[in-house]
């Protein structure tokens, strides 16, 4: 028999995570777009300009929520993959305590620093900007809570609830913003408050999460053997990225204000700025699932699934970016019309600048992949290289030089050059880094080389496969010098679980898939059986103890293996067996 591993099971999970993620990011970006439209229309262009000016401050304010949400969920995904539930609960709790703590400090500071911060951007719009900054800082604990819980709900088996949370929050935000500005006349404070108020409305979904049977994470205050270091490591990339983006935006905005003075170029700059929004709107959701899915596969050391999913995300990301790239490249005028541009005299020069700027987006999305992917697989150095290159080392000097020398064209060219060079330098760095460090990883994706004997197959939910896999596993173990008793036990464990899944796991009448993985180390075997049938925890199965015998296969294997554990991760049943052989692997042939 030739059973092979395929990706049918994880492909289904991929889609289940991808669609909510795309919808979620779409809702978030759409909320931001409508926010700008509402402020511009209800409070005027000065108010809109004030929100643009203070954007770097808002980035900094969001760092605790974004960095701890993204970083913490990466660590939790890795830990869940390693089945370390207790530590994942501690990391979850640490993120909340630290995030809420920092945001409370911001809230207190709001009474003292809002006006001085607003004055940094000039006195002309200080009334608008200080109100906006004040309310944003004051409500930061709510925003931070929302950003952290949103990330954790997705990684903790509830991607759909997480998406609905964000979608609902953003819809509520728009409705409340109209109410606060038009009905209550709260002005800029109302506009800023609508973000937190929207999240408060969306938080109704947190109740569904708390009641979810799929939930693993719970708050704990037993923080010994804490995960501060892990959280800090994983959060550093996203935190540093946000901080450097804020600084870069601040400097570039100041310089653009000095260099670009005519209205035509300013309007063209507006078109350019919105291009990021278009790409993030359509590609952000694809990138957003990297921590959740890749993080778990990395923790599980499931290199097959990690490679498969990472390549898929990379490919979908590049294809989507390329399609948008081609469409805008062909018709920059239609793109301009979409954003309300109406001065088409001498549009050729604007179109030229747009097309040059457009060149930056394929490498831009590749760089975003690097910044998301490498921390997820615990490779922080390459992601820090990417962040530092594109946010500081290359981008600022090149952008400022070209902006001063060639105006908006120079700015566009600088963006394209810096994004492309960041991709090239990062990839060269990754390859050289692995060689110099003699790392046990390979390729751009830095996938770990498997240093143990591994058996990896996918079955369909056919009862005959329970016998086939059992025999195959036993033969595989025997051929790798595992003692006979343990070789038979591993076959027994697989047969009992697989037959149970086939008999009771599915009621949809469709072909379903079960992934089987066996790893053989020096003195033990680790068998993982993964399926997307209805949730079933064999460790909590209640046996009829009244009889003097048992026909239960679950009880049989629980007793014959050294350890049976269960976890519901990625909405999949994962049953794991440890089978030890004290004498170690045998040498020679087996009968």
């Amino acid at each position: 028999m030739t059973l092979k591993r395929n990706s049918k099971l994880i492909d289904r999970k991929f889609i289940q995570y991808l669609i909510p993620s795309i919808l979620m990011i779409f809702a978030m970006q759409f909320g931001s777009l409508v926010d700008g439209i509402l402020i511009g229309n209800f409070l005027g262009s000065d108010a809109l300009s004030a929100t643009s000016l203070v954007l770097p401050i808002l980035y900094v304010v969001q760092i605790p929520g974004f960095a701890l949400g993204v970083g913490g969920s990466i660590v939790v995904a890795n830990l869940l993959g390693k089945r370390d539930v207790e530590k994942s609960k501690r990391v979850f709790s640490i993120c909340f305590i630290v995030g809420i703590g920092i945001s409370l400090i911001f809230a207190i500071l709001s009474f003292f620093v809002s006006t001085p911060l607003a004055r940094m951007f000039g006195d002309a719009l200080v009334n608008y900007s200080s109100d906006y900054v004040f309310m944003y800082l004051l409500t930061d604990p709510i925003i931070t809570f929302a950003l952290i819980i949103g990330s954790f709900m997705a990684v903790d088996n509830n991607p759909r609830i997480s998406s609905i949370f964000y979608i609902l929050s953003n819809i509520a935000k728009v409705g409340l913003e109209v109410l606060f500005i038009k009905v209550f006349n709260w002005g800029m404070r109302g506009a800023a408050f609508s973000t937190a108020a929207g999240y408060l409305v969306g938080s109704v979904m947190v109740i569904f999460y708390l009641r979810s049977k799929e939930r693993t994470l719970k708050l704990t205050f037993k923080l010994q053997d804490n995960g501060f270091k892990d959280v800090f490591k994983a959060s550093s990339t996203s935190g540093l990225n946000l901080l450097l983006t804020a600084i870069q935006m601040l400097i570039v905005n100041i310089v653009i204000g000095q260099v670009i003075t005519n209205s035509k170029d300013l309007n063209a700059y507006g078109l350019i700025s919105n291009m990021v929004f278009v790409f993030d709107l359509l590609c952000g959701g694809i990138q957003n699932i990297i921590p959740n899915i890749c993080g778990i596969f990395y923790g599980e050391k499931d290199t097959y699934s990690l490679k498969r999913v990472a390549r898929k995300i990379y490919l979908i990301n590049v294809i989507t970016t390329s399609i948008i790239f081609v469409l805008i490249m062909i018709a920059p005028d239609i793109y301009a019309i979409c954003f309300g541009y109406n001065d088409f005299t001498d549009f050729q020069s604007v179109a030229f600048v747009l097309r040059i700027y457009l060149l930056s987006f394929i490498p831009y999305e590749i760089n975003k992949f690097s910044m998301n992917y490498y921390p997820t697989i615990d490779k922080n150095v390459p992601s820090l290289v990417t962040v530092l290159l594109r946010e500081a080392i290359i981008v600022l000097p090149v952008t400022l030089c070209l902006l001063y020398s060639h105006g908006l064209f120079g700015y566009s060219l600088a963006c394209a050059l810096t994004e492309a060079s960041t991709v090239i330098i990062t990839y060269i760095f990754v390859l050289v880094y692995q060689r110099v460090k003699k790392a046990n990883t390979k390729g751009i994706l830095m996938i770990d080389n498997v240093d143990f004997e591994s058996f990896d197959v996918t079955l369909t939910n056919d009862m005959s496969n329970a016998s086939l896999i059992s025999e195959d596993l036993t033969n595989f173990a025997l051929s790798h010098n595992v003692p006979n008793r343990e070789s038979q036990v591993v076959g027994l464990a697989s047969e009992e679980i697989v037959s149970n899944i086939v008999a009771y796991g599915y009621k949809n009448g469709k072909t379903n898939y079960i992934d089987i993985n066996l790893k053989i180390n020096e003195d033990m075997m680790l068998l993982r059986i993964r399926d997307d049938g209805k949730p079933f925890d064999p460790t909590k199965y209640e046996f009829d103890e009244s009889e003097e015998y048992s026909t239960s296969g679950i009880k049989l294997i629980e007793n014959m293996t050294d350890k049976m554990t269960y976890m519901r991760i990625l909405n999949l049943n994962n049953t794991i067996f440890e089978i030890k052989f004290n004498g170690g692997l045998q040498n020679g042939n087996h009968s």
């Binding site: 009862m463 005959s464 329970a466 016998s467 059992s470 025999e471 036993t474 006979n484 008793r485 038979q488 036990v489 076959g491 027994l492 047969e495 009992e496 037959s499 009889e547 003097e548 015998y549 048992s550 026909t551 239960s552 296969g553 009880k555 049989l556 007793n559 014959m560």
Partner: protein, 98 residues
Amino acid sequence: MEITVNHGNEFVVALKGRLDTVTSVEFQDRLQKETIKESMVVVEAKDLEYISSAGLRALLSLKKSLSSQGKELEIHNLNAVCTEVFKVTGFNNILTVK
């Protein structure tokens, strides 16, 4: 799995290979076709390499069927792993294992 039967003073069923989810059905089908006149049925398990809970259930079903006819069932020469399976499940208490 190979199943061979032998009629005589005892009805002997020799099993060779694996008694699992699939082969236990074959085992039951095969015995249903046999007319057992002997009062003692022996399952010769010397060459039985593996038994799962499905195999145990097939043996239990055979035991119940024979008991209802006033006949006995014995299992002979189980290997170490199969013996462990019998002990863990308590089947050594309800089946005669020699």
